[in-house]
């Protein structure tokens, strides 16, 4: 049984959390203009602050979205087709149409990006897959996803170990591109071969543990919906109706 954290947002059922994200994604296309989309970024940050994941979310926003948004502005402002030239230098011309397009595009990317990043900060993958399993997703899918999350850090560790071993055997990992590229294959090959070979014994392990037994599995781990989920779902639905009505009326 999952322990309660007594944080309204964190204790919500995974699908309810996803509905919040989905709500943002849908409304950002319904509401006109870029302001709404941009407002979603601080809103997500605010929710993150409440769920105590503010720093993580902010860091990831800067890392993944800031560079992208800057590039979009640079490229679109100068190369988007249009006639309203604001400023010109040599072959480069800054156009109003490009800026407008960039604002709209980046506001959507910002909103959707923040909403997704927030979702993954407040929902563990374990909870996501278990709730999907309850919806009828085969348990093999659950296994694959959870196993992937265990294997990635293990393989990272293994790759560093192999690289260190290669270094002591004289394979250079510093220097010019040719030297560095030459270190790639000797690190990669044993990493892949060892990992791939382990699947055979893993398969036997799973068979020995009745993984393929044709019965409905049970699970020690359980997450349950509460009244709060219902309340949040109804609120989201009402809000969506309001936004649609408001958009149609205008």
């Amino acid at each position: 049984m999952k322990e309660k954290s007594n944080n309204l947002l964190l204790d919500l059922y995974p699908s309810t959390k996803f509905l919040i994200t989905l709500f943002i994604i849908i409304t950002v296309f319904i509401v006109k203009g870029y302001l709404y989309g941009y407002l979603m970024v601080p809103l997500c940050l605010l929710l993150a602050l409440y769920a105590k994941v503010f720093k993580e979310l902010l860091g990831l926003l800067i890392k993944t979205l800031l560079v992208l948004i800057t590039f979009i502005f640079l490229i679109q402002s100068f190369f988007y087709p249009g006639d309203t030239i604001l400023w010109s230098w040599s072959f480069l011309s800054l156009r109003q149409e490009g800026i407008d397009f960039s604002l709209l595009l980046t506001s959507r990317i910002g909103a959707i990006g923040s909403a997704l990043l927030l979702f993954f900060r407040i929902t563990s993958v374990k909870d996501i897959v278990y709730s999907l399993e309850q919806l009828g997703l085969p348990s093999k899918v659950t296994y694959v996803v959870l196993s992937t999350l265990t294997i990635i850090p293990e393989m990272k560790k293994l790759s560093m170990t192999i690289m260190d071993a290669q270094k002591t055997r004289g394979v250079e990992t510093e220097g010019n591109l040719r030297v560095r590229a030459k270190a790639f294959l000797p690190t990669l090959t044993p990493l892949i071969l060892t990992s791939v070979a382990s699947t055979e014994e893993r398969a036997i392990t799973l068979e020995a543990r009745a993984f393929t037994a044709p019965v409905k599995k049970t699970s020690l781990y359980r997450i349950e919906k509460t009244k709060k989920d219902t309340v949040v779902r109804i609120l989201l639905l009402l809000l969506l109706i309001v936004i649609i009505v408001w958009r149609v009326a205008l």
Binding site: T64, V67, I72, L116, S147, L177
Partner: protein
């Protein structure tokens, strides 16, 4: 050859999926550590597709982007590209395209075109042609030379992707050839890589 999805998703094939995804993710990092100016991050998908077939390859590709999007949501739309890579390479494997270095290169060329046809619309429509990495700079050069955004994205993709995908396939081919016959024989599509 049509034996259905159940035939393809054997237990050992299913267990290969996490390995393939992890290879993709770890390579992304390895490439950064070694500062190699390529992605090479579909090698895991290609490997799984080669020995476990197109559908298992497709799942490996898709899952890779889903996992990556936990930390970088802009990867999510490109899941389609990764899935297409898995599907295509798996199909090529069935068609015995990976039996020599020469054929593998031809497969790489075809794969490059398929990848570009799928990825260019995603990149242009969703992200205005920018991706926030080094290829954006290449695109800017094409754009500055007076080409439209579609053509620029297509051309810059062609340049980077062709090197990347052909090299990735060659690396994958080399590694699969190193696997033991005993192991390969356990996979549905491994027989094309047996030594004997």
């Amino acid at each position: 050859m049509k034996k259905g999805l159940k035939f393809d998703f054997t237990l050992i094939a299913i267990l290969l999926i996490p390995i393939g995804v992890a290879i993709n993710v770890v390579i992304s990092q390895l490439v950064q550590v070694l500062r190699i100016p390529l992605y090479l991050d579909a090698i895991g998908t290609m490997l799984v597709a080669m020995i476990a077939g197109p559908w298992v390859g497709l799942v490996t590709g898709g899952l890779t982007n889903v996992i990556k999007s936990i930390f970088s949501p802009t990867e999510l739309p490109f899941a389609i590209v990764s899935m297409v890579i898995g599907l295509t390479v798996g199909y090529f494997s069935i068609k015995k395209m990976f039996t020599s270095v020469g054929k593998t290169i031809i497969a790489g060329v075809i794969l490059t075109f398929i990848v570009i046809i799928v990825s260019t619309p995603i990149s242009v429509i969703l992200f205005g042609g920018s991706t926030g990495d080094s290829s954006s700079a290449v695109r800017a050069i094409f754009l500055a030379s007076g080409q439209g955004i579609w053509k620029s994205v297509f051309s810059s993709n062609l340049l980077i992707e062709s090197i990347d995908k052909i090299l990735s396939l060659l690396i994958t081919y080399t590694i699969v050839k190193k696997m033991s016959d005993r192991y390969l024989s356990k996979h549905n599509y491994g027989q094309n890589f047996l030594d004997s």
